[in-house]
Point group: D3
Chain length 243, copies 6
């Protein structure tokens, strides 16, 4: 199976790292291709950023379907454009949020998310309400590091560990979810440190979860329901580059 | 007070009618200006349409704030771009959904919405979940008429009446909401026919509700919370017309 | 439009102040009349007080309708008698709770109320459950000052500020609601102090909200649903002053 | 133990029948006294009626406590004045709703209520929301017979049976609750007819349930929490007969 | 009426004490018989323990029904086997959880449970979700004492008092429930200490509650709904002692 | 990876078929072993059956862990023993319900289940409440065919199709779940017939979902949280075959 990974940022500096990381996520026989955006914000950290990123995400998703990919990952925890994309293609499309929450929900009673900035906390709450899992989500915390500064891995590791401890002790989280796909590769270290402190809790990496969920749907031969995600009516849609 | 009304469609054919209708909604001393989009879909009837309309909506909202307007109405029942807009301006911004639901919630136990097409029903459910009023929303029905065909008022009136009767009798709706701002001017007729049939239920016009709610917030000197709608971080945002 | 403001207390000492305050709330062209009760408790701070206040509130509401008023405000945060009143008149009737909650719900994700005494906290919870907005209400705190001692404005201002800070920091409230109509005139000062401390959150004054909501309904030509608030059956109702 | 039964109606015509029926409800060693109101509506079938009945109910409850009764039943399905009464006395006080719902909740998955008139359906919904059991309440139906006409037992029996069948078959109720204390003595007949039709479901009589619940609390030596039902502050409360 | 009390432990050392305690719970004219298990775990403190205890509980329940008992108490807070038991007998069957929660729900706004070990907290949450009362349950705390060590009453009393104070002050519990039937006889002492500290809250003993609830159902002539608890289909069921 | 599939029935007649079917579910490189029970009911169609099946399920799960399997599937839609099993082993354990619901929740707004008999409907509701996804589950229907009669595939196919149509049209299900692992191999046919009728909805096979979910967890190197599923305390557990 062939999966398209769309990075909703406009820079290619992370393409290589993303490719390496996804290689470790992909199951046997899975091929994938990584692509960043041509237009949009440098990163998604607000409703505003998300709104600006989505049009080009949708272009890329439609192109992937035309090129014969079997599924698409929109590599962002905020699931930007996921619902719109499902309306316009007939292959499975996942972002990071839904797969991470669903896989986490099978592992314990209370879920906790540690994300990047306070700005995205209300967006995450809205996603949880829409998915119907708000009652399991007991904690949303943040490391207070912008997406594009996540490169300082030691700082990130420590901040994740501290916030995860708070999520467990104060908010009673039983399963942790990394709340940004830019935190990829951090799950194992965080799990090990928490286990060392006496808390044997699973840590879900949303990009890894996205890969598994898209693989699942392709393997099972299913895609999103057309009663939820209907094909948009035909009509003129005027766009900048149509000028 | 001066209010900007943004029509999230790319045609100007309705501008005059919108202007006339809003004139009847506006309270004493309220000035307003109607503006349609330069880019985007002909109408919003899907997640896909909404995604394509939002970038230019946000441009227009920001421009309205710069021009000194006191508030903004995004004249669509789907509240497209409302949350993103609140992040980037310091004046009240409302679409049609939130004001209609909130005004309706003060009038009776169970709410019912009659909208245009089945495509938007899941979007409306998501809006209700995000607003926290899903438990009061007992009915979402549709007249099965596309937005741009709402001009046949007799057909629309009859369809609205039939679906409203079903909402009341089968789904136990006590308050009705017109589920598209393109249904403006239909509330009174619908209320009268329903009352004639023995059902004295209020009917909420979402564009009217939007005008009242924006007026309320301006009069009270309040705007959206900056703890929910934080200012987006500064960063490059690459856009089509920046090519 | 003419609106009757019913003060559910038996003293006239606040009538002048109420009149002055409501003058600042009322929109252009709105006339109003303030009236206190002849029978009932000195103030409403318990279910017991509410039960004793309601019969004369209902008398006053019915008289207002007979006198041709266009709407009624029952000026108390507990919405005493509001549902019963709607059964017996055909004009909009609002207390302070519903309008404040509905206007606040359009401004942010999490609502917080700061009220007078611990006694009324369960009553406020019940009101929120009945309105269907309990899931958004993250904080109910109190200044621990009885209604009739709210005259010490400095003490009240400080207590409101302290409890509001706790509501924001500990309970994650994003929008604040003054939980007693006796706190009128305090919203702006509280908002300014909170903004000065870095929390730009709206503060809703329930009496102001009540005025706006009644104005809205009158302007829109709607009233409560007769499917929720049916006309009470005709029957003998024996009362003290009928002796 | 001695229990006071307060009938929230102003006529004594039912006193004898109530006494006979409660005799069959009361456990061994339970004495009780039946008392109707001096002031209030002829029956409770609306928010308005409830508001007018409550002041004298509260008088009677306080008098019962002073006379040394061990508990009080307010014999109405709408629980009129129950919360206020708990604030002012230190003995258990129950109406019909809470006991019926709580006993029913222990017997099956989905609850259904068959009450008298459509007018009280929203009141019952509010009671269920306040009690926290709305999610189990799948059906509220009515026989469309006013309280004071419930004397025609054959008509009532047939209407109860028909509506109960609908509640079971259409709404999937598993446990039935008689939604008016005036339906006393009908539970067994209804259960037998339903069982004969293949539906072995329990039927809860709310007056019977009230007696059991008050007996329970007295036997266990517990009463309502003073953190929910605080003692009302001391203050003047001006009343009709104080003129 | 005759009630069978099944102790889901394999030792008889507590039989005498249980008998004495239940004697004080039982109403006038109630006879009961106490029986422990032949097979199963020494105590129930996990899902695993519960799974191993249930088969012999079901044997004992069926035998009780055959012997003509009028009702059965499964004397454990976790309600082990209660739902399965109701499928196979036609007499009321209660554990400790449902009765305690239902009786507590009639006494105040927020419920708090103090149980034995952290292991059972998720089990209690699941029970509350199934019963539909999760929204009232604001606190689940534990004394961290295994069931079989509850014999040290002074230690238990102090731990219960400390955790109850936390439940009241930090979690806002208004009604307390002892979260293990092994805590029998502790409710009065705990209530008195809490009242002495200014918190007049009821404390529910789950075994006492179970006795009252089974008595209620027997007195009312009702049992569980056969639409929720259907008779299991006839089929071979192979068991160890059938070897 | 090596996965143990436990069939919670006591007959081996289906072992071969199960093996063939699971072969088609398993991903590349997955080995699995099928095992039925030695003790328990012939099939699980009630709480009673589940209670009797669980002890031997737990024996088999523990043995699988000792033998070095990487994960366990308990091949039943009711998730019998899943929670208890997670307490006693350190490898992922899944039944059919959780995986099917979680995979389905990622595909559409409203879920519908078609199961075997009415007896298990309340059990499924309880599972959904415990998982936290009750608000998405709009339909639970049944084909009224016992598990052991599912061999008549034509009858089953037709019944599934009819009930699925009702779930879609009457209950507004958007995603369908086969509510018994004995319905394996039916998903594709059902999907095709529904699509032919104009309803392009995904159909989830719970055994397929279980295989994918266990594969996911093994691939991701995670297992259930030890804060939800704690290790049971050490204690004597007396069992039949210990006689």
């Amino acid at each position: 199976m062939r999966i398209k990974v769309i990075m909703p940022i406009t820079s290619d500096v992370f393409d290589e790292e993303i490719r390496r990381e996804f290689r470790s996520y992909a199951g046997p026989g899975v091929e994938f291709d990584v692509q960043h955006l041509d237009y949009g914000p440098a990163s998604i950290e607000s409703e505003y950023d998300e709104a600006l990123a989505v049009p080009d995400i949708l272009n890329k998703v439609q192109k992937a379907a035309e090129e014969g990919f079997d599924g698409v990952i929109i590599d962002c925890f905020g699931d930007p454009g996921v619902k719109a994309a499902r309306e316009v293609v007939d292959i499975p499309v996942c972002g990071g949020f839904e797969p991470a929450m669903l896989l986490a929900a099978g592992l314990g009673q209370h879920l906790g998310i540690v994300t990047v900035l306070p700005n995205v906390v209300p967006m995450i709450e809205d996603l949880a309400k829409k998915l119907g899992l708000m009652s399991k989500l007991v904690s949303i915390r943040y490391v207070n590091i912008p997406v594009l500064d996540l490169g300082d891995r030691t700082k990130l590791e420590n901040a994740l560990y501290q916030e995860s401890l708070e999520a467990i002790i104060k908010d009673k989280a039983h399963v942790l979810i990394l709340g940004c796909t830019g935190m990829m590769g951090m799950a194992k270290n965080l799990h090990d440190r928490l286990k060392g402190a006496g808390y044997d809790v699973p840590v879900i990496d949303p990009a890894f979860a996205a890969m598994k969920m898209v693989e699942n749907y392709i393997a099972m031969g299913v895609k999103h329901s057309r009663l939820t995600y209907m094909v948009p009516p035909v009509k003129p849609r005027k766009w900048w580059d149509q000028k």
